[in-house]
Amino acid sequence: MQIVLFHLMPYADLDLGEGRRNGTVWVTLPNRNFDPQKGHRLYNRYLDELEYGEELGFDVVAVNEHHQTAYGLMPSPIVTASALARRTQRVKIAILGSALPLRAHPMMVAEEHAMIDVISGGRLISGFVRGIGAEYHTFGVNPTFSHDRFHEAHDLIVRAWSEPGPFSFHGHHYRVRYVNLWPRPYQKPHPPIWIPSQGSKETIDWASHSDRRYTYLQTFSPVKVVQRYLKQYRDTCAGYGYACEDRQLGWAVPVYVGETDQSARAEAKQHFEAFRNVYVRMPLEMLLPPGYTSRESLKNVMKAKAQMFGDVTLEQALELGLFVCGSAETVYRAFEQYWKDMRFGNLLVMCQFGTLPAELTRANMERFARGVLPRLKALD
């Protein structure tokens, strides 16, 4: 199993009361709540944490893209991935992912990813996402064209990476007379492509298609939901006439390892609950603008609204498998069991979440790296 250290880089110094009062830390939380001096310390602390991930033996360090929110301070994962490309030597760097429909032009994504791949000597894993619903509000990009733009941008990027240029591209949303990428990516034919998702049939059908076989990552979902979608991915591969490899599946989950189960819970509780109940929270209309999902999916979310949009305690999260927390032994056993059930080839652990401070984050990473990571890697 490949173990990925995943970071959201939240604004951990957030006044949680302000976030609560505003109803969400996305889109509308006034940016006077961001203090650039605190931001300076946080960025450097978080980059240090990811760099430390290499020293601790993680296979991959991962960053992602979010806009105008305290949830994550990486409107451009290109910036953080670039910094990591120069400060690390061995570890792979995953961008999970670039929000293709939000970017003005996919050629920029193709170029920037290719640069990082070349600079890092082929250590880049490219992730593609559509951006979450809130970001269609902040960017003004029409969500009803989100899927179309995503697919067309993807096609353009992959062709730009892998086909000899110059050639012309005639899409509905993007038209380019000369596609002729300098630099071409280091990896052949191009960096691996991962698709993080909250789970949708459309995404699974597309990512698992035998032409693509992209690694599908289920992010921050109750474990039953993770199981359902990973199984659906495997079944879909079978439907396409091939056997899904474990490397095509991944699960992203917040993790906290303490000295004991009890101390782990005590240390993580307030920070996890801040993550789940303040940083993640947003109204339905913000989360799912029209066209971002199918109307059927939207109706299902409306039905589950009370459950999805209410507060969740750490204890409930553990029961749901939204969070894995305990001693190294407990955490290992949990993942071993999940792995036996689901056989995901990639585990993405988020060792910092919400307001979790630097000392606890480091201690968590070290205990995970010492007591859990080597045993998980050995699973086969």
Partner: protein, 257 residues
């Protein structure tokens, strides 16, 4: 005066419309919420006009054609629509999104149009008059923002929500987003061509409009200097509902003079 239901297959789109009354044809173009039922103002107008109220492509009971990508597509569709129904000397009345469509139609071709009533239309932007963010409002707040007199909102909110109503609501919302998400509720190029509208125009607005503030009316009047401006006091975004009688009287006086 009963309205009857009709279907017209046009441009590959099964288009539902209601038709009632006799007289000069009046084409009413509804707003973002669609027009799921016959409203009193339609009955009243039907005493003087032959009133035609289509569900726009993408809305209500009409199809969602693949070609529908922006407001211009609907402008051309409605030019086909009035031609297909052989309507001449049409009084074109549009509210909100429908008012925007009316302007987009009229800058292209007014040969079948006699006059236009723009009822708190979307379509243009005005400095300092920011529209409500209709895509962030909850369903209840959306209804409340539509009206000045909250009794109208209470009445509407008291109607039980059926699964069919939810489906129609999501469909209408989807199409509105497709047409008006960005640029939000307007076409930045429209003002360049408003001078092409060569038929009488009336601009009608509720003074207390909380969806498209009345400040937009001043800007539209500036762009359409020949237009008659009528502001309804104590009235929100839907004058045809909140001030139905006065609204209909105004339309009759304006269109029949």
């Amino acid at each position: 005066m009963p309205f009857t239901d009709h279907t017209l297959e046009l441009d590959g789109c099964r288009t539902r419309y209601r038709r009632g009354g006799k007289g000069t044809p009046l084409l009413f173009l509804h707003g973002a919420g669609g027009m799921p039922v016959v409203l009193p103002f339609m009955e009243q107008l039907a005493q003087r006009f032959e009133v035609i109220v289509p569900d726009h492509p993408g809305y209500g009971r009409s199809d969602e054609p693949d070609w529908l990508e922006n407001i211009h597509d609907l402008a051309y569709f409605y030019l086909d629509f009035v031609a297909a129904l052989k309507l001449e000397r049409v009084v074109l009345v549009g509210n909100s999104m429908g008012g925007w469509m009316a302007m987009e139609i009229a800058v292209r071709n007014t040969s079948r149009i006699a006059s236009i009533v723009l009822v708190s239309p979307a379509g243009i932007a005005a400095p300092g008059a920011e529209p409500a963010d209709i895509f962030l409002l909850s369903p209840e707040d959306t209804v409340r923002q539509l009206f000045h007199d909250q009794r109208f909102a209470e009445e509407r909110l008291a109607i039980p929500v059926t699964p069919e109503a939810i489906d129609l609501g999501l469909k209408n919302r989807h199409t509105t987003a497709r047409l008006a998400w960005e640029p939000r509720l307007h076409d930045p190029f429209l003002p360049k061509w408003l001078h092409r509208i060569d038929v009488p125009v009336a601009i009608v607005w509720g003074k207390e409009d909380r969806v498209l503030p009345v400040g937009i009316a001043d800007e539209l009047k500036r762009l359409l200097p020949q237009a008659q401006l009528k502001i309804f006091e104590h009235c929100g975004h839907l004058p045809q509902v909140e001030k139905a009688e006065e609204f209909c009287d105004f339309v009759v006086r304006f269109a029949c003079k």
